[in-house]
Amino acid sequence: MEILVCVKRVPDSAENEIEVKPGGADIKRDDLVYSVNEWDNYAVEEAIQIVDRVGGSVTVATIGNEESEEVVRREMAMGANSGLMLVDPAFEGSDGRGIAAILAAAVRKGKYDLVLTGAQADDGAGQVGGMLAALLDWPYASLVNMIEVQDKKLRIGREIEGGNQEINEIMLPCVLSIQTGINEPRYVGIRGIRKVASVEIPVMNAAALGLDSAGLGPAGARVKRLDYFVPPAGAGAEILEGSTDEITVKLIDLLKAKGGLK
């Protein structure tokens, strides 16, 4: 099975306080900790496990800039066989559809049986996988939390509301978006990263992908972000102030009053 996994380098929202720049043009990016999108890490682990079972190889592709190389190397250190960097100034400012079109061009340049994406990334859109499948005219399933390889098709589970699992059969080639929890992504140590540090990672731009850059970037985007802003504060929580001692005393009183202590 030849598998392509799409990965994105994102500010790690568990590690960072995301703040809006004055004026709202962007978030403050200077001190952000970046990592691979949480969902994509599960997708790469799943691809590696599938190849361990049935053979084949895993390629990890990202659209980004030079800095995105670190996440590709990280996923190669996990066990992906090769990487692919899709870099071109013309790609910047693309909307989800534009990103999917770039990835679709990369898929067409290869010979893949299966393409995996994460269920969603930092902006929570959850759109690239489904769009990519539609552009390729391959079948698609989102929020996949189980994959079983069968002959020319997969048996998959989709996680739906309430944690129930929707079982489907899907023909290959197909695109799946992966939900967290499908596996336990392996740990990557500094030694693993060092081992792949000098592996050549091919870079492709719009021309190499045969893409017309007129349809990409802001010009081709039908959905544009106008600004960032801080969610308007609602009533909000009453923040307990004081020393830890004072706070715990207040909190215990409140818990008692609300039936929180039995």
Binding site: M131, V230, G234, I247, L254
Partner: protein, 324 residues
């Protein structure tokens, strides 16, 4: 005036989902006064009840009944909608696991714009829709502009369009089942497996001590156990704690976990994503302990403590024990 607005209706056991009404409200924000059309797919007699119910809030209800549609398979429904919807229209979808499955691919095939998970709609200016969505798990919001000149698929976050008058009533049901012909795809629905029942039932508990990714490590869990024991509460959690296999799935609160209705909910190191909060019903007294004063959970909590939970929790436990 914008092109016609359609709303895709989810339903279960012969009743329309809560999102049905919310989509009607949302459609009024896009095209005030215009009558949106509800699209209902399914099979069996129960479908008629759903359609009838919808005539109260939709001027027109399009019914598509067929055995192939008994379970909503996004690939099959995409095929149906591509045949049935007029070019350039706007389709509203709920941002659920089904909406996420259908929306992006449908938009590409319709050659329409796709806007996902909107929380507010500011309105339409010419062919440009201005809407609000969130990024980074709700830490920041954005305004976006969507060019709807070739149509749009807009997925709407549940619970965000409750207030408001959906308008039009006394609609009619139009049976369009005959119009779509044979539907078959490359993805076949097999069955739904129900989530396993765990050793505790958090849905029946009055007091929950809930831990999130902020607990940091499995080794810190006993800290939450001890607090729960002191309070007479039970431990629940957010999704990352289950993904890491620190607690079993039956303890997870949220849209893909359990829906709980406690009186008191103590959230430790939980950021407050909408998927997590979506599992918390009945307007409980929420206490949030988080080291980030800007964590979204402080917007919905009743009381907040800005602190490192690894220091705060043992201290709270100790005080509660001492007071006994």
């Amino acid at each position: 005036m914008a092109a016609q607005v359609f709303a895709f209706i989810l339903h279960k056991d012969g009743k329309a989902d809560d999102t049905a009404l919310e989509l009607a409200v949302a459609s009024q924000k896009i095209a005030p006064g215009a009558a949106p059309v509800a699209v209902v797919t399914g099979a069996g007699a129960a479908l008629d009840g759903v359609c009838q119910e919808l005539t109260a809030s939709y001027a027109e209800v399009w019914k598509f009944a067929s055995d192939t549609l008994a379970y909503p398979n996004a690939e099959i429904i995409r095929m149906l909608l591509l045949k049935a919807l007029p070019k350039g229209c706007t389709l509203l979808l709920p941002h659920t696991t089904f909406g996420m499955d259908l929306g992006p691919g449908l938009a590409v095939k319709m050659d329409a714009a796709y806007v996902s998970d909107v929380t507010a709609i500011d309105g339409l200016d010419g062919a440009t829709l201005k809407a609000v969505r969130q990024e980074f798990n709700g830490q920041v919001c954005t305004h976006l502009a969507c060019d709807m000149s070739k149509g749009a698929v807009v997925s709407v976050r549940s619970g965000c369009f409750q207030a408001g008058d959906p308008g039009a009533a006394g609609g009619k049901v139009v049976d369009k089942s005959g119009e779509v012909g044979e539907l078959s795809g490359r993805r076949r629905f097999v069955e739904v497996l129900q989530a396993e029942v765990g050793d505790v039932d958090i849905t029946k508990e009055d007091v929950l001590v809930s831990v999130g990714r902020g607990i940091g490590d499995k080794e810190n869990l006993p800290m939450a156990d001890e607090l729960a024991k002191a309070m007479g509460a039970v431990v629940s959690c957010s999704r990352p704690v289950v993904d890491a296999k620190w607690l079993e799935k039956g303890r997870q609160v949220g849209t893909s976990g359990k829906t709980v209705k406690p009186k008191v909910y103590l959230a430790l190191g939980i950021s407050g994503s909408f998927q997590h909060m979506g599992g918390l019903k009945g307007n409980p007294f929420i206490v949030a302990v988080n080291k980030n004063p800007k964590a979204p959970i402080f917007q919905v909590a009743s009381v907040g403590v800005v602190a490192d939970l690894l220091e705060f929790v043992p201290e709270l436990t100790e005080k509660i024990m001492a007071a006994k």
